[in-house]
């Protein structure tokens, strides 16, 4: 009897691995085919220019053992090595996962490779939202994947504090190709703050990040991402978010650093009834920065709602601010708001808001405005006693003061700091 059962088990195991392999081959094939495929948006990057090899860094059981310089770079993007008020931490340096830990029951925080082993290949999730054949960057992430994180909250589990993750570039001219999977099981709540940063001595490199989010029935993810790259770094995130019935996805994205080329267009699919998506982004482009950043929400289910808000400022850099709402179901409501401020004649802001209504009974709207600070606003504040510089920075701070609703205080503090008085100084 036992023999039969184990033989059956072995056979079953075989079928399963074969199946995984088959899917795997399919993904590999798609990626192979897309190796040279240019992305529809953003300047084309020659990936051969970057190196694949990075030193291996040992695992740190205690994340506070990171060097002071590294800790400083991480704090700048909201990642706190003291782990105070955090429910989990993941830190990846170049290709090495140097720390990963969950401090709450029912919460997984681990490297994606560990998760693939633990959860039998994550067959329902890995490469199921993002298409590996989308462009050369997704292809590279599949063919030369260099870790990434996996975060999952179990059914009904609500994280008290945010989970923090940091993807850190420490070697010159390196290609970091990470793949992240984030799952909030039914009725769970996940707060994530993720910071991407480069070591101060690193001047160039490329960061490719695949992120696949799954918000299950009644669950909620608040995802805050702060980018702080050095000037010759190229950044190509590729994110897709799937939201089921009654689920909520909130994203806050902030990039205020001089980044050679940043192009991303995260896409949310509201597939379940009454699901909600809200995407806020703040972009500040200093001279020499090029940012092509959009947010797209596809409303596929009745009663779903979406809001996209972007605030962009150029201090001499180039910004393309995109937004796209697609209404595919009745009784949906969606709004897109895009405001740009031009503080230098050298810079430009190109706002491209798009609305697609494909059925009747959709309520979709957008507003976009681009311009300089009005003299009347400056003089209004000057009449209250502020100098011209103080008036200008007060207006800029107000402009960036997006109502980040529903954020836990810890996250709010990080954002306030990122856009606080010291960061807008001299604008």
């Amino acid at each position: 009897m036992r023999n039969v059962s184990s033989a059956w088990n072995a056979k079953f195991q075989n079928i399963r691995t074969n199946k995984i392999k088959m899917i795997d081959n399919n993904v590999k094939l798609k990626a192979q085919e897309a190796k040279e495929k240019k992305a529809p948006l953003g300047p084309d990057i020659n990936l051969w220019e970057f190196s694949d090899g990075a030193p291996r860094y040992g695992y740190l059981p205690d994340v506070s053992k990171l060097s002071d310089g590294e800790k400083k770079d991480m704090v700048a993007v909201g990642v706190d090595a003291s782990e105070k008020n955090r429910s989990g931490t993941f830190v990846q340096k170049d290709h090495s996962v140097v720390h990963s830990a969950s401090m709450q029951d029912g919460l997984d925080v681990m490297s994606i490779d560990d998760a693939l082993k633990k959860y039998g290949g994550l067959t329902e999730y890995f490469w199921k939202a993002v298409d590996p054949g989308a462009d050369k960057y997704t292809a590279q992430a599949e063919l030369k994947q260099t870790s990434g994180y996996f975060i999952k909250s179990n059914k009904g589990v609500k994280t008290i504090f945010p989970v923090q993750s940091c993807l850190y570039l420490a070697s010159e001219h390196l290609a970091q190709n990470v793949h992240n999977v984030i799952i909030a099981e039914e009725d769970s709540e996940l707060n994530i703050i993720t910071g991407c940063s480069t070591a101060s001595h690193v001047t160039s490199g490329i960061h490719i990040g695949i992120s696949e989010f799954y918000v299950k029935k009644g669950a909620k993810i608040v995802f805050t991402m702060i980018h702080n790259w050095n000037e010759n770094v190229v950044v190509r995130p590729r994110s897709v978010i799937i939201v089921e019935e009654g689920g909520t996805f909130i994203s806050n994205y902030i990039c205020m650093s001089k980044t050679k080329s940043l192009q991303m267009y995260p896409t949310v699919h509201l597939n379940g009834k009454n699901s909600v998506a809200r995407l806020n982004s703040i972009l500040v482009a200093p001279e020499g920065a090029e940012m092509d950043v959009g947010s797209r929400v596809i409303l596929n289910a009745e009663g779903s709602r979406a809001e996209i808000i972007s605030r962009t400022i150029t201090k001499g850099g180039k910004i393309i601010a995109r937004g796209h709402l697609v209404g595919n179901a009745k009784n949906i409501k969606a709004h897109l708001e895009c405001r740009g401020l031009i503080l230098s004649d050298e810079g430009y802001v190109h706002a491209i808001p798009e609305l697609d209504g494909n059925v009747s009974d959709v309520d979709m709207s957008h507003e976009a405005a681009v311009g300089k600070i009005a003299q009347a606003e400056i003089e209004y504040l000057m009449a209250r006693g502020l100098t011209e510089d103080e008036a200008t920075s007060t207006i800029v701070r107000g402009f960036l003061n997006v109502n980040f609703e529903g954020l836990p205080d810890a996250l709010k503090m990080e954002i306030d700091r990122a856009i606080g008085p010291s960061s807008v100084k001299g604008m």
Partner: protein, 251 residues
């Protein structure tokens, strides 16, 4: 407090005010009358020092000091405050924070208390002027002025767009600003533009001026002037005896 000597002001290269002479003493409130487009608002803007209103001739003295070429914020710091007719909206800047900015030069400003007096508490968390009605703008402007507590208040048509219920509220806020409850040692002065004179039912003025075609035609008792204007319009007012006398005096 304020002395204007032979002031000529240009707006976008066009002369709007010509040879203005005006003197406001400590503790005095002056009313400024005049038809639409006569240059009343321009005079207030020029006293405050806004860049579009260029003083091409003459001088403005405040507390004995020549301020003709000072930037707006330095005039504010010296103690001049203005109530705007149509202030711009500044997104992301809460009314509360704006009042705090105004009060930064004063030691004991209780914005919350001032807001209660002006029935503005529910606006404190709103972006300044965003979707405010006419009356709400007046109250918000007065909240800011009371926080700033200036020596000289320049007040542009405080009654326009305000319903009857709120006009006495606005009147008492202006009285507070101008220290009207001080019978002696009143320090604060004011210059109030009024079309209808309605506000003068609530705020007493000491001196009135009639501004027409960019010049001050007459300076007299404000209530007599208002009576004349109501009776026979601005043109008739200029013809009255008082005006002729003051015109003579000015010469």
């Amino acid at each position: 407090m304020l002395e204007i000597k032979n002031l000529t002001v240009e707006v976008k290269g066009k002369e709007v005010l010509r040879g203005i002479n005006l003197k406001i003493l400590e503790g005095e409130t002056h009313a400024l009358f005049g038809p639409n487009g006569s240059g009343k608002t321009t005079l207030l803007m020029a006293i405050m020092g806004f860049s579009q209103y260029r003083a091409v001739k003459g001088k403005i003295y405040f507390m004995g000091e020549d301020i003709t070429n000072l930037p707006v914020n330095e005039r504010a710091k010296k103690g001049i405050g203005i109530m705007f007719q149509r202030p711009p909206t500044i997104y992301g800047l809460k009314t509360k924070d704006m009042a705090v900015i105004c009060g930064s030069g004063e030691s004991n400003v209780d914005v919350g208390k001032l807001a209660v007096e002006l029935n503005m508490t529910q606006f404190l968390e709103r972006d300044i002027n965003d979707g405010f009605s006419g009356g709400e703008i007046k109250r918000s402007e007065l909240l800011q002025l009371l926080a700033q507590n200036p020596m000289l208040s320049l007040i542009d048509e405080p009654e326009s767009g305000v319903d009857l219920e709120n006009i006495s509220l606005i009147g008492s806020a202006i009285n507070k600003l101008l220290e009207k409850d001080f019978q002696k040692n009143r320090k604060h002065s004011g210059l109030i533009i009024t079309h209808t004179g309605h506000i003068l039912d609530y705020v007493t003025a000491d001196v009135g001026h009639l501004l027409m075609d960019g010049t001050i035609k007459c300076t007299a008792n404000p209530f007599d002037m208002l009576w004349e204007i109501k009776k026979g319009g601005y043109e008739k007012c200029v013809e009255c005896m008082e005006c002729k006398i003051s015109e003579y005096k000015n010469k």
